[in-house]
């Protein structure tokens, strides 16, 4: 196996695959920066180019592109509060708050370093998982996937403000998210739900316009109302430093980084949960690292740990997501489905053979993820402090440009004017929530997990009756969910306890 690992590296280091990877990275870089244009669409557009390539070259190109999209998506999210990708929304909460405090450089440094480490851990996990991939994925049936969604929803407890009032608000927002996930034709009876008699809502709410509205619009309003630059009155000199500080931050919280990267990898491996989930679970986990109520309040107001968590998760999942695609020929996401098309184009049949006969090619995929991320982060680090300077540009110059990006980004999800309406409606919802102090993260988590939870619950009951409740992994996950819900409560109690004795 070590031979194959080495061979894989040599494969990718030949000049042609390497050159194609660089082209891919360049494309992915821009796609990530622009909100709305997702990795999946770009992959579909680029697929025809691989007809004449060798398998290693083709995957270096496609995967190189795909694996940096999430990395540069973080940049847009942090600088402008506009989600660069649907998978990089969670990083806005603390990342953009830091940018407003004049610490954009530090936030970017932390996010990129975390995502590099995440990518490395994800790739390592992919490499290590090769021998045990099949039993691992097959353990997770529909009942287990349903419970995983429940564990995800349990993180609402961590994503809400502390105290009874905060919790209630968090779970209400989560409930609203679940309701929003019900919009569209249901998959059991084919009945339209909450479609408001429009064709647009038949297939449910699209995540991109909702996220862009929910997060970007309130920031734009805030920026316009303040009438300053994003970083306010913080002097330029200060802003243009700090990237290195962010890099150091990641190493100050090594275990958090690793844990969040593992969460991302795990979600990636599990087909059906989707990339948008990993970041929120990682963010929820990051907030659990707060030692007392004081620290907990810092989350959402620019705690660097809230940047490291989702940063580490959003790239580590890519390594994981390749696993079901390669080992079973079953893609875990749209991007992976398109990548699977790439396999066929090249005359490869993904499946058990990829783990034996074509093992070195599989490892070349791992190396592509590693190298593409190394290169991107290296390039970004050089640019970071300049990028951070953008937060010093006066708001009235920046807002028109951001608005154009926001609306084009939403519109590209369906090329339908209703996308813009959704953006504006959720913009209003987001703004009101911010004003009234309601957390937006639980709403998104509910929206992202609602459909998954509904479908897998239905399948579990239809297939196993009540028997699914007694499956061992289900019980373990249930215990984890309970622990996740109780954790903030215990945390708060311990905080009070300590305060009393101090």
């Amino acid at each position: 196996m070590l031979d194959a690992l080495w061979e894989g590296l040599l494969l990718i280091l030949q000049w042609k695959p390497f050159a194609f990877m660089l082209v891919g990275v360049l494309v992915g870089f821009w796609v990530g920066l622009l909100p709305g244009i997702g990795g999946a669409t770009t992959l579909a557009l680029m697929l025809p180019f691989i007809y004449t390539m060798q398998p290693v070259e083709a995957f270096a190109f496609l995967l190189g592109m795909h694996s940096v999209v999430a990395t540069t998506g973080d940049i847009t999210s942090i600088l402008f509060g506009v989600p660069g990708e649907a998978t990089t929304a969670a990083i806005i909460l603390d990342g953009h708050a830091m940018a407003k405090r004049g610490e954009a450089g530090r936030a970017l440094g932390a996010a990129l370093t975390a995502s590099l480490i995440g990518a490395l851990i994800g790739a390592a996990a992919l490499a290590l998982a090769v021998p045990i991939v099949r039993p691992l994925v097959l353990t997770f049936g529909s009942p287990e996937l349903f419970m995983l969604a429940i564990v995800g929803l349990a993180f609402i407890a961590s994503l809400s403000a502390q105290g009874a009032r905060g919790m209630v608000r968090g779970f209400l927002a989560g409930g609203l998210g679940l309701l929003l996930a019900m919009v569209g034709q249901d998959p059991q009876a084919g009945v339209g739900r909450f479609t408001l008699d429009t064709l647009y809502l038949w297939q449910g709410l699209d995540l991109v316009p909702v996220l862009v509205g929910l997060f970007a619009i309130p920031e734009i309003i805030d920026l316009a109302v303040r009438g300053t630059s994003i970083a306010g009155d913080v002097p330029t000199g200060h802003i243009r430093r700090g990237a290195l500080e962010g890099v150091k931050d990641v190493f100050r919280h090594p275990f958090l980084t690793v844990r969040c990267a593992l969460i991302g990898t795990f979600i990636g491996i599990t087909p059906g949960l989707g990339g948008a989930v990993a970041q929120w679970m990682a963010y929820g986990h990051a907030t659990q690292s707060a030692r007392n109520a004081e620290e907990r309040k810092g989350f959402g107001a620019g705690d660097v740990r809230g940047v490291i968590g989702p940063g580490a998760a959003c790239n580590s999942k890519e390594g994981g997501a390749l696993i079901p695609t390669i080992a079973f020929g079953v893609p875990g996401s749209t991007s992976m489905a398109i990548l699977l098309g790439g396999f066929f184009l090249l005359g490869l049949v993904p499946g058990p053979d990829m783990l034996t006969k074509h093992l070195s090619l599989t490892f070349s995929l791992v190396w592509t993820i590693v190298l593409a991320n190394l290169i991107t982060v290296a390039v970004c680090v050089l640019l970071l402090n300049h990028l951070a300077g953008l937060t010093n540009v006066a708001g009235h110059r920046l807002i028109p440009a951001i608005l154009v990006l926001v609306f084009i980004g939403s519109f590209t999800s369906n090329s339908n004017y209703a996308d813009l309406v959704v953006t504006l409606v959720f913009g209003a919802v987001g703004y009101l929530m911010v004003l009234a102090g309601w957390p937006r993260a639980p709403l998104v988590l509910g929206l992202v997990l609602g459909k998954i939870a509904e479908n897998y619950l239905y399948i579990s009951v239809a297939r196993y009756g009540a028997g699914w409740l007694t499956r061992p992994v289900v019980l373990v996950l249930l215990a984890i969910a309970v622990a996740v819900v109780c954790y903030p409560v215990i945390q708060a109690w311990r905080g009070r306890h300590r305060a009393k004795h101090a």
Partner: protein
């Protein structure tokens, strides 16, 4: 409206001679509107065609693909019918089941399939049902007498993963337990692999790799066929009554025009003819065939006239059959 008619008339005149036809396309851009997001079969087919059509259209226009997803592509079809100009520069491709949607009076449908200017269909699709190879049932007869219920995974009503086994269960009486809600056919495949379900229905193209790998075994197919599954029994032949047979036939009819391509109603006949010829030639193009083979897409052109005959079959069903049919089948996917 008057202006549009004038425009159409003008184009019609201009397009009367082959030279003029070339002029009406030269330097122009032809847009193929796809009713789905990138990543699926409809999109992949359109992109393959877009790469090879320019050589075969007079005047060699640029051909691009635009995605207009939503409502199982009803939005794209409505756009083609009501908004797109009938000047030959817009082509639409959408859900093959839209004729069913129109037939069963689905809300939101604002088109008449018969009035589109049909170029034809770029491929047909064959639905089959496959079950896990480790199950004891080797033939349809054996499956029919299964004592234990056979669990079939599905993505939901309106998809062939759901409707095909549903009719086998309700009309032929197979001992199926249909579990729906999987997010994609790939997702069901994984459930097959972990033995959560015993099998699934779907297009032969999507199931073939798993049949080759001996994970599943094909058992029965619908009427539309292709090389490799000719020998499989056809579901309709097991129908107990003529009524049941008609319902099963109606479900599978659109599969004969599985990748429909149309232009807006009122497109001048010369342009429609030129486009039909272009499609027919492009699909025979050795380069396209080679590319298609690589990506496991085999195209087969069904001309517009033929497609309209298929439509006629759908729309000439007696009312009671349609009513019965809509009890089982919901429009979707």
């Amino acid at each position: 409206m008057k202006r549009r008619q004038l425009l159409v008339a003008a184009i019609g005149l201009a397009a009367a001679s082959p030279l003029a036809l070339a002029q009406s396309f030269a330097g122009k851009t032809v847009t193929i509107i796809v009713g789905y997001k990138p990543g699926g079969g409809y999109d992949a087919t359109a992109r393959l065609l877009a790469r090879h059509l320019p050589k075969h259209i007079p005047g060699g226009p640029t051909v691009i693909v635009q995605n207009m997803p939503g409502a199982n592509s009803v939005i794209a079809a409505n756009h083609m019918y009501n908004v797109a100009k009938a000047d030959g520069l817009t082509i639409g491709t959408f859900n093959r089941n839209l004729p069913i949607a129109q037939l069963t009076r689905v809300e939101g449908v604002k088109f008449d399939m018969n009035k589109f200017a049909w170029i034809g269909s770029a491929a047909n699709e064959s639905t089959i049902l496959a079950i896990r190879s480790d199950l004891p049932y080797m033939t349809f007869e054996e499956l029919r007498h299964a004592k234990e219920p056979v669990v079939i995974g599905s993505t939901g009503p309106g998809a062939n993963t759901h409707d095909f086994p549903l009719l086998l269960k309700d009309l032929v009486g197979l001992n199926f337990k249909i579990v729906s809600g999987y997010s994609s056919s790939a997702d069901i495949m994984l459930a097959v692999e972990r033995k959560e379900v015993d099998g699934r229905a779907g297009s032969y193209t999507s199931l073939r790799p798993f049949i080759d790998r001996k994970l599943v075994r094909p058992i029965v197919r619908a009427r539309s066929t292709e090389p490799g599954i000719d020998q499989l029994p056809v579901d309709e032949n097991f129908a107990p009554t003529p009524r049941a047979k008609a319902i099963m036939a109606l479900r599978s009819t659109p599969e004969l025009i599985a990748r429909p391509y149309v232009m807006p109603p009122g497109t001048p006949a010369e342009i429609v003819k030129a486009m039909r010829d272009a499609f027919a030639r492009a699909i025979q193009d050795p380069q396209l065939i080679a590319e298609g083979k690589k990506s496991k897409m085999e195209l087969e052109f069904t001309s517009g006239e033929q497609a309209q005959k298929v439509l006629h079959d759908v729309f000439s069903q007696p009312k009671d059959i349609v009513e019965e049919f809509s009890k089982y089948i919901k429009f979707g996917e």
